[in-house]
């Protein structure tokens, strides 16, 4: 049974499970069946069932994780293609991004603290609004638990994708640009995915929100946490 611990076997399983999960969502179109979430859940179940520890899994897994950093660098390309849009209404976009980013960090930290969460958990929640690779990098920088951040980020994204549009309608956020921007800012890739479903223009603003909030969160989280006396 030691073959189960072979790193290439574990890599192959990861690819296969992800592919199956991806197909499943394509077929059903059901947002809760997020392929990343499903793959993580299945892999954890398998590893526990066959008594394989994370260290062994990560001998193969680290080759996948390796691509996270280059992938974040590659986000520079969509950012570049959107520079014109940003320039056109730089102040409203920057101000709303800044406000959303800072209130996001402060609110999650204050609520978690008030409810008695530990320091480690609070730090892991701070960058929860932005896309996972960026959020995990931020968590690593400030000393939280990156994998907890990953889970929370995916959950926040799904929730935002499901409830985002309705919530904004109720709260009188009506302009399509503001809605798209907010979806990307609060619910990163899932919000963008939802926005793309409405229209391409919506989606473009959502991906703008996703990218800008990613940058702002990376830039501001350490400072905001320091200001709040958390680190």
């Amino acid at each position: 049974m030691d073959f189960l611990r072979n790193e290439f076997f574990l890599l192959a399983v990861t690819f296969a499970v992800y592919y199956a999960a991806w197909r499943l969502q394509r077929k059903t179109g059901f947002m809760l069946l997020n392929p990343i979430l499903v793959t993580i859940a299945i892999l954890i179940t398998l590893l526990m069932a066959f008594d394989i520890d994370y260290e062994t899994y990560n001998k193969g897994g680290k080759y996948i994780e390796f691509w996270l950093k280059p992938a974040v660098v590659a986000l520079g390309v969509p950012l570049y293609t959107q520079l014109e849009v940003i320039k056109k209404q730089i102040l409203p976009i920057l101000l709303s991004q800044f406000a959303g980013c800072v209130t996001g960090i402060i609110s999650v930290v204050l609520i978690a603290k008030a409810m008695g969460a530990s320091q480690e958990v609070i730090l892991s929640l701070a960058p929860k609004s932005v896309t996972t690779p960026i959020a995990m990098e931020v968590t690593r920088t400030i000393g939280g638990i990156p994998s907890l951040t990953a889970a929370v980020v995916v959950a926040v994204g799904i929730l935002g994708g499901l409830l985002g549009v309705k919530t904004m309608q109720v709260a009188r956020v009506g302009s399509p640009i503001a809605q798209g921007l907010s979806l990307g800012t609060a619910a990163h890739a899932m919000g963008t995915y939802t926005a793309m479903g409405i229209s391409n223009k919506y989606g473009a603003y959502a991906s703008l929100g996703l990218t800008l909030n990613g940058i702002l969160t990376a830039l501001l989280t350490p400072a905001v946490l320091q200001f709040m006396g958390m680190i």
Binding site: T14, Y18, I36, T39, I40, I44, Y57, G61, I64, E65, W67, L68, P70, A71, V73, A74, L75, G76, V77, P78, T81, P92, L95, A99, T103, S107, V108, I111, M115, A117, V121, T131, P133, I134, M136, E137, V138, T141, I145, P146, S147, L148, A151, V152, V156, G160, G164, T167, M168, A171, V173, S175, I177, T185, A186, A187, A189, G214, L219, P222
Partner: protein, 113 residues
């Protein structure tokens, strides 16, 4: 393909260098991303030089964080112990971000039109 990789990893290495040199608390990958945007803007790098690999990497972004996500199994104790604060804080804060961003954008757009 080689040139594409050289550019992406070049920006990442430069990002690492900047972080190491200045000691700023910014992930090297974000620094690399900003550098790439900057190089594209000043036309030092042409868009078609990186389009292929960046489309591939961005499209598969989700896949790359599966292994770190699996590491969650190491923290089941913490999650169980602090489940409620984690869920409530994240959900409420998500709504706050959604509304604050939207409101501020609508108001400032009216002002700066």
């Amino acid at each position: 393909m080689v040139r594409q990789c050289a550019i992406i990893f070049g920006c990442l290495a430069l990002g690492e260098l900047v972080v190491w040199f200045t000691g700023i608390k910014l992930p090297s990958s974000i620094t690399g991303m900003l550098l790439l945007t900057f190089f594209l803007k000043i036309k030092l790098i042409k868009l078609e030089w990186v389009k292929g690999i960046s489309d591939f990497l961005v499209a598969n972004l989700g896949f790359f964080f599966i292994p770190p996500g699996v590491a969650l199994m190491l923290y089941f104790d913490i999650i169980k112990a602090e489940f409620l604060p984690i869920v409530v804080a994240s959900a409420v804060s998500m709504v706050v971000v959604l509304l604050v961003t939207g409101w501020v954008h609508q108001i400032t757009r009216r002002i700066f039109k």
